[in-house]
Amino acid sequence: MPSLRAIKRQIASITNTRQITRAMKMVAAAKFKRAQENLIKIRPYAISTYEILDDLASRIDISSHPLLSRREPKRAELVIMTSDRGFCGAFNSNIIRFAEHFIKENSGKYESITFSCIGRKGRDYFKKRNYQLRREFVKVFDDVSFETALDISNDLIDNFLSSNLDEIILIYNEFKSVIQQRVTSLTLLPIIPRPRDSDANQVDYIYEPSKEEVLNDLIPRCLAIEVYRALIESAASEFGARMTAMENATGSASDMIDSLTLKYNRARQAAITKELSEIITGAEAIKK
């Protein structure tokens, strides 16, 4: 049986930990709320934008714009979104596992796979294992800005246009609910239109002012918005995951404190009983 003092020390230490996890949960909750608001705002916009792009891709001749071209996919790039900080449950390991699985499955299909890592955790992981890290972005999730998304998407577009990359796949956590995130992969480039049920309506658009002008501006804009939405999805997922992880940790700490307190009280009672019986025995001895 551990000594009373040892149990007491243990209780104090766990109480400290609980305080920290509780504070982290609060912080995550505040950030989560903001991220979720952003997400609710951007989703309809992103969906409409994507629909326009999708519809465009299904109507137009793919030779009309370099960004619509499809080549034999030789060089692929994975854009992996993880968090900068830990303490968020299986958030990062899910993404990393998914990415590694993807690499294993498709390594025969591509000549090379390079990486853009967004978020410190994924960067550290892939760097340590000598993967070909092409670009890295850290500290973007606390305050996701459209500029960051533009920066990322412009870099990808440039590389696609210069034939450095043939296929670009985003891997990120899609936000479902606070307790649920889904690892999603999305092919950003080339743009593959959804299959249509009827091709009767596949008439090309009339463009205003001109086809070139519209496509030159619209396609990069759509891609940037897609990246932006993925960033926001990932941020909301991260804070949601951290919130749940910290809540669970706080709960476990409370359970531990309860059981240790019980142990402590038992030990204390045992000590008192022992002392009492010693006193009584002593008194009996004196009587005689």
Binding site: Y45, I52, L56, Y205, I206, Y207, E208
Partner: protein, 143 residues
């Protein structure tokens, strides 16, 4: 909406919010080459939207609002409009709009046609004028 044969479904969104999402009779939008009206059966059409006033006609009346830059895609009786921002008449600050118009006019008179800034200020002027125009229309209909 049983016999919605002559209706079109309009979606108007900004990065901030989903502004309109409903079945309408028609919508007038400020395209790059001028205002155009979309009715049911419109040909597939993809255009840039410039700042101006959008008029949405419902079965029981119409609504007007200012829109800024963006795109409109029209196909299969569906109109998707994505713009950077929108303003209803009661959201417009008329003094601010006036100030913006004066400032843009001044800038435009100083800048040459081929200045890189020219397009930007032209755009701002358009926004300011759209706002003022919408306000004056509202005033006209109220009195």
């Amino acid at each position: 909406m049983g016999e919605s044969k002559n209706l079109i479904s309009l979606t108007l969104v900004t990065p901030e919010e989903s502004v309109v999402h409903s079945e309408v009779v028609s919508v007038i939008l400020p395209g790059r080459n001028g205002y155009f009206e979309v009715l049911s059966g419109h040909t597939p059409f993809l255009t840039q939207i410039v700042p101006g006033i959008a008029v949405i006609k419902y079965e029981d009346g119409e609504k007007e609002l200012c829109v800024s830059d963006g795109y409109a895609s029209i196909h299969d009786n569906k109109v998707d409009v994505i713009v950077d921002s929108t303003e209803w008449a009661d959201e417009i600050d008329s003094e601010r709009a006036q100030r913006l118009r004066d400032e843009s006019l001044k800038k435009l008179s100083e800048l040459g046609q081929f200045d890189t800034e020219y397009r930007k200020w032209e755009n701002r002027l358009r926004k300011a004028e759209a706002r003022l125009e919408l306000l004056s229309r509202k005033k006209g209909s109220a009195s």
